[in-house]
Every structure is written in structure tokens, then in C-alpha cells.
């Protein structure tokens, strides 16, 4: 019988919650005594309490009978921990190891002498890191901020008129992932291990750390003030950079996962949770289910981008990417809550799409060995001329009129092309040197940043002006080589990131 109170003043029987708490021994002694007295006279409540207690006892007994006899095989062992124990970051403090070898007194003297020798003769790792990047003396591209992963930590470099200036070396970030600058370049969010670091680029001492685990993702709001992140345990929160505080928007038990996607005006965030795609209003916290995944056993729908007017959400299937297949694209009609598959397939690059949505609402798809541009608003399709090869990476100009593409397998210096869908024009952009082109980022109307890779495996960042008379120039070299992600493709944003800054 339903009831909210514990004692049945106006009821004949106790409610189920109280009887369960009684059966599980969770009540205070005095409450326990009262209910025990009631049960002595009430067969209905007694039957209910006995049923709960019986199920609980039986579950407990069966679990113990089964699990207490189970033993793991020799595969569960200490070897992996032992192998890692003495590697950096060291869990064994230097003093602890020293104490095991020599007494404290001589150790202090030895340590002092070693420190002196080190200071006198060894270049600092910061110096080594900067030397290895071989930064140029000058620069004539748009103002930008760059992050480069090196063996000596993550180096932040500010590019401004005629100047390439290292602004910070974050020595603790030796294995960064998903480096994301805010739009104004004031903040950088970067993951390492089980921590999401949010660091002020002007003053690295302003530094927030957030616990995360596998499956976490993050993205800055269009105005650069707020970072939306999922923590891998299912929680989605907003971190306000100025206030240095997080607001939970989706609790962990709702299972929000992957990268949250901001609408272009910052008024909505799309995220995947359970078997559905959701829309979150960051101002009010109001959440609404956009569409339900019709095939949750075979497809994992994740959001990719919003249309400019926020009426359409582009989504894709991460399961296909994980299997090494070409993922399908989906169009979510936000107003009608309708999901439609877009003909053809796309290409994954790490956790993102290698072929993003343009500001003209077009997305590249591969259909039966030909490339087709699909307008996600009206569904209109435009076949790309056959001589234009399938790109390994692509980025759209801010006005959506041109696409910069990387042709896979082209000889070094010959892999960058510009393509204008309106007139089918394809223009090669030759780069000096033998390094092969890997990724491209459009920075302003007439400028590209291109990531290249040398035969030796060093990663380079190039500034490529598209105006006549200006030459491409290398910004840095010897950044770390990225690893491939579980979803395939090089994860360049784990080692190199660049953000064009507004002109000051």
C-alpha cells in the first residue's frame, strides 16, 4: 500500500519503502522495534517484509556462493604495475630512493653537488624544447596562438606581426590530448591521463584541473567564455573560465558522453546520452530529447555540427568508424524531432569528422565511388567532378565558398588543393620541401595553416598565405607525432593546435 509516512497513523499498513528498510536492517533501533510490534499483528505487512528479506538473503547467499569460489587466472598479476612503478611520473620520491642507498647526510651533499653541476652545464629542458622546434625569427600571417606537443611538454607560441614568441612551456603535459583553444585564445583546454587541464595562456598559474576518464570530451563556447565537457562518467558540465567554476548540467547517471557540440550562436548544446541525442539550453539547463537512436545495438549516434540557424543537427555513427568502416551521416530535424540518414558516408579523423560542415550548410559525402556535396537544410546534392580526389582532410573557408583539401598519397609539397564548389575549380597550392601534407586549418579569408610530416616522422606547422606574392613559411618543426585513435585517423589535435586570434 502506498504511503509516505513511516508510521501508519491513518493507514492500515506500512509503506513498501519502510518495510524494505526494516527488512534490510536499515532502521534506527526504536523504529525497528515499532515495526516489529506491528508485524506481529499484521499478516500483510509481515508477508511483504518476509518476501523482501527472503529475496535479499537469497541474493546475498547466491552471490557469495558464486563469487567466493571464483579465482582469477595468472593473467591478473602485479607485473604491469611493477614495470611502470619506477617510470615517470615517479611514484618513488627521489629522497626515498636515495635514503635506501646512502644515509641522509652524504645524500644532501651529493644532491647539492649534482644540482650545481646541472645548473652550470646543462641547458634547461625549456631551452631544449624551444631549440628543437626551430622557431623562425619573423612571421607575416594573421595573429594566432599555437600549441605544440614536444618530448619536453606542451609549448604555447603566440604569432603576431613580425613576431613568433613562445609564451609558456607546460612541462607536465607530455602526453596531451584534444588541445582546444578558446576562440579568443585566452584559454587552452587539454587532457592528460585522468585530468582535464584548463589553463590561462597569458598566465599559466591560473589553472583548473578536472577529473575525467575515458570517453570524456570538451568544446569551447563560440564566445570562448565557457567550456562544455563530459567527464567520461556520464556527467556533462559547463566550466566558466572567468569564474573558474563548474556547473553540472547533466548528472552522471544520465550517461552523457563524447564531445558536446555548441550551436553557432551558443544558445544550445547537442550531446549524446544513452540511446538518444539531446539538446541542452546552457542558460536554463533545460534538456530535451531530439531523437532516439533507432538501432542502438549497431549504431552509436554522436552529434557533429549544428546548421547556422540551429534547425538541423548533423550526426554520425561512431561504431562504423571504430570498425574501420566509413561512417554514415544523419540529419536531425530539430523542430520535427526527425532523424534521416544522409545518402553516402563520411570520413572520421579521431573523434571528429575529417569532412566538416561548411557555413553554407554543405557537407561532403562519398556515394558509390563519387563525392557529393549535400546541403543539410534542403537536401540538395551536387556531384563533385571526378578529377577531384577523395580528401584525407578538409576545411572550409569562413564564407564556405572554398574548401582546402589534403590529397592522400600525393608527393610531399603537392598534397594541398583548393576547391570551389560553385564553379568546380580545383587549384593546387605547392609547398616547398619534401614533407607530406596531413591536415589543414583555414585561418581567415586568405590564410591556411597546414600540418605536414617529414620522412623522419617530425610534425611541422606551416603558414600558407593565399595572396599573391607571399610565400609559405614553416612555423615550427619536431612536434611529436600523434597516435591513431580508436576511431581511426591521425589525432592531430593531440599534438598540434592553432587558433587564429581576433586582430587587436
Amino acid at each position: 500500500m502506498a504511503g509516505s509516512g513511516k508510521h501508519p497513523v491513518e493507514q492500515i499498513h506500512y509503506d513498501e519503502i519502510t518495510l524494505q528498510e526494516y527488512s534490510l536492517g536499515q532502521l534506527l533501533p526504536e523504529e525497528d522495534e515499532i515495526i516489529r510490534a506491528h508485524l506481529a499483528t499484521c499478516a500483510t505487512c509481515r508477508a511483504h517484509a518476509e518476501a523482501v528479506a527472503a529475496v535479499a538473503r537469497r541474493v546475498q547467499r547466491d552471490l557469495h556462493n558464486t563469487l567466493d569460489n571464483a579465482t582469477p587466472s595468472a593473467r591478473l598479476n602485479f607485473d604491469a604495475i611493477k614495470a611502470e612503478w619506477h617510470k615517470p611520473p615517479r611514484r618513488t620520491s627521489f629522497l626515498y630512493r636515495l635514503q635506501e642507498i646512502v644515509p641522509a647526510g652524504p645524500a644532501v651533499i651529493l644532491l647539492s653537488v649534482l644540482a650545481l653541476v646541472f645548473l652550470l652545464f646543462m641547458p634547461s629542458s625549456g631551452t631544449v624544447a624551444l631549440r628543437s622546434l626551430e622557431l623562425p625569427g619573423g612571421y607575416d600571417g594573421p595573429p594566432a596562438i599555437v600549441a605544440a606537443g614536444t618530448d619536453y611538454g606542451l609549448v604555447l607560441i603566440r604569432l603576431s606581426e613580425n613576431e613568433v614568441k613562445p609564451v609558456a612551456r607546460l612541462a607536465y603535459l607530455t602526453r596531451p590530448r584534444n588541445i582546444q583553444f578558446s576562440t579568443d585564445g585566452q584559454w587552452v583546454a587539454v587532457g592528460q591521463g585522468s585530468t582535464l587541464h584548463i589553463i590561462a595562456t597569458q598566465d599559466e598559474t591560473v589553472h583548473a584541473r578536472i577529473d575525467i576518464t575515458d570517453g570524456a570530451g570538451w568544446a569551447w563556447s563560440p564566445d570562448g567564455a565557457v567550456l562544455a565537457y563530459t567527464d567520461g562518467w556520464g556527467r556533462l558540465a559547463l566550466f566558466e573560465a572567468a569564474a573558474q567554476s563548474s556547473r553540472e548540467m547533466v548528472p552522471a547517471d544520465e550517461g552523457a558522453a563524447n564531445v558536446p557540440i555548441w550551436s553557432q550562436d551558443g544558445s544550445a548544446i547537442a550531446y549524446a546520452s544513452g540511446d538518444s541525442l539531446w539538446r541542452l539550453d546552457p542558460a536554463t539547463g533545460y534538456r530535451s530529447e531530439l531523437v532516439r537512436n533507432p538501432a542502438p545495438d549497431s549504431v552509436l549516434l554522436v552529434p557533429a555540427a549544428w546548421s547556422t540557424d540551429g534547425t538541423v543537427l548533423l550526426a554520425w555513427d561512431q561504431v562504423a568508424a571504430a570498425r574501420g568502416a566509413s561512417p554514415a551521416l544523419y540529419r536531425v530535424d530539430v523542430l520535427a524531432h526527425r532523424l534521416e540518414q544522409i545518402p553516402g558516408s563520411t570520413l572520421a579523423q579521431g573523434d571528429n569528422l575529417a569532412w566538416p560542415l561548411s557555413t553554407q550548410e554543405r557537407v561532403l559525402t562519398a556515394q558509390d565511388n563519387r563525392l557529393v556535396l549535400v546541403n543539410v537544410i534542403d537536401g540538395q546534392q551536387q556531384t563533385v567532378p571526378a578529377q577531384i580526389p577523395r580528401p584525407a582532410a578538409l576545411d572550409w573557408a569562413p564564407n564556405g565558398a572554398w574548401a582546402a583539401t589534403i590529397v592522400p598519397g600525393a608527393p610531399g609539397g603537392e598534397g594541398l588543393y583548393l576547391y570551389a564548389p560553385q564553379d568546380g575549380e580545383l587549384k593546387p597550392v605547392a609547398l616547398p620541401g619534401d614533407a607530406s601534407e596531413q591536415d589543414v586549418i583555414w585561418a581567415g579569408p586568405e590564410h591556411l595553416f597546414v600540418i605536414r610530416q617529414t620522412d623522419g616522422g617530425a610534425s611541422e606547422l606551416w603558414s600558407v598565405p593565399l595572396t599573391n606574392g607571399d610565400d609559405p613559411a614553416r612555423i615550427l618543426t619536431n612536434a611529436r607525432q600523434p597516435e591513431t585513435g580508436t576511431l581511426g585517423g591521425w589525432q592531430w589535435d593531440n599534438v598540434l593546435a592553432v587558433r587564429r586570434l581576433p586582430a587587436s
Partner: protein, 192 residues
């Protein structure tokens, strides 16, 4: 030596203390994972992962916030959730990338999984398999790991009241799956 001392020594870098902690907790962690996942191969993987993470990150453990065992249970539950999630999102095994076929991992069911399967064919363990992962977590943490509601909430990342209601819901579902007749029989058996 008690756990607190072992943890302190491991935090100072003593690998022998870490080894002792591993020895103390490996069975408990494996069995908890087995209770959560029901597959001994997956449970071994999760237990290895959880113990490795916990011991290599033991400097992050704060004894003021929880006991070491609650902290380790939290990591184990989290890794078990990851394991389930990865089964939905298949990844290509490392061995496959390296062209080694399936030599690294032996997928042959071990004696534990055989025993579990035999048990699961009847009664409550079979009903347990029908529960959602969160309700199953509540049952295993409460009835196997003997956690309090507060500890369950900490481990599952929810409030005490949510932990309580998950347990109630889980028991309700188990009762519904068993049917009133079988529950009455169980109750009568306990009285006998």
C-alpha cells in the same frame, strides 16, 4: 600490517607496500568485477585495469575522503561501466593491429565462467542478469561488497537516496521476475 600503513608507504613510493596492497585486494576486486559483469575474462581485465590505475595513481588517493577499499571499488565500478560501453562500441584489438591474430588473448571460457553459467541457469542469478547495469551495481555493492548506502552512493556517483531507491527498484524487479509463488517459497524456506 594494516591498510592505512600500506597505503601511506605506497604513497611514499615503496613498491613492496604496493605489492602487498595488490595481494590483499586482487581477489576482492576480481570478484566484485565478476559480480558486476558476469564474465570472468572481462572481470580479470577490469580488475587488472582498476588495480593498475589505483596503485600507479595512489598519490591521488585522499584517505580523508574515503577508505582505500571504497576508492578502489569506485574505480572498479567505473572500469566495469567502461568495459560494458566498449562492448557496445567495438574496438580493434591490439593483436589485430600488429597482425598477430588472436594469439594474445585466450577467449576460451575458464572454469569460473562455466560455473557462473551453470548457476545462472536457475534462480536469482538468472534474474540478476536481467537487471540494468545500475541496478545490478546496487545489488552487488550492497549484498556482496556489504556497502552502506553512503558508500554505494559514493561508489556509483550518486546520492545516498538514489542508491537507496536503486536498491529498492532492483529488489522489486527481482521479485517481479521470480514471481510471487517463488518468493513465497523462498520466504517459507527461510522460516523452515
Amino acid at each position: 600490517m594494516d591498510d592505512d600503513l600500506l597505503v601511506r608507504r605506497a604513497q611514499e613510493g615503496d613498491d613492496r607496500a604496493a605489492r602487498q596492497l595488490f595481494d590483499v585486494y586482487q581477489l576482492r576486486t576480481f570478484r566484485l568485477a565478476l559480480g558486476l559483469l558476469g564474465d570472468s575474462s572481462d572481470a580479470e581485465e577490469v580488475a587488472q585495469d582498476a588495480l593498475t590505475y589505483a596503485l600507479l595513481n595512489i598519490h591521488n588517493y585522499n584517505a580523508d575522503l574515503s577508505s582505500f577499499s571504497t576508492w578502489l571499488h569506485t574505480i572498479t565500478v567505473s572500469r566495469s561501466r567502461d568495459k560494458r560501453r566498449r562492448k557496445i562500441l567495438p574496438s580493434i584489438p591490439l593483436a589485430h593491429w600488429l597482425g598477430l591474430g588472436h594469439q594474445i588473448r585466450d577467449h576460451t571460457p575458464g572454469p569460473e565462467s562455466y560455473y557462473l553459467r551453470q548457476e545462472a541457469e536457475s534462480g536469482l542469478l538468472s534474474a540478476l542478469d536481467q537487471l540494468s547495469p545500475k541496478l545490478r551495481e546496487a545489488i552487488v555493492l550492497r549484498f556482496y561488497a556489504d556497502c552502506t548506502y553512503k558508500e554505494m552512493g559514493d561508489i556509483m556517483g550518486c546520492s545516498l537516496n538514489t542508491a537507496r531507491s536503486r536498491l529498492r527498484l532492483a529488489i522489486d524487479k527481482l521479485r517481479a521476475q521470480l514471481g510471487e509463488e517463488q518468493v513465497r517459497w523462498l520466504a517459507a524456506e527461510n522460516i523452515r
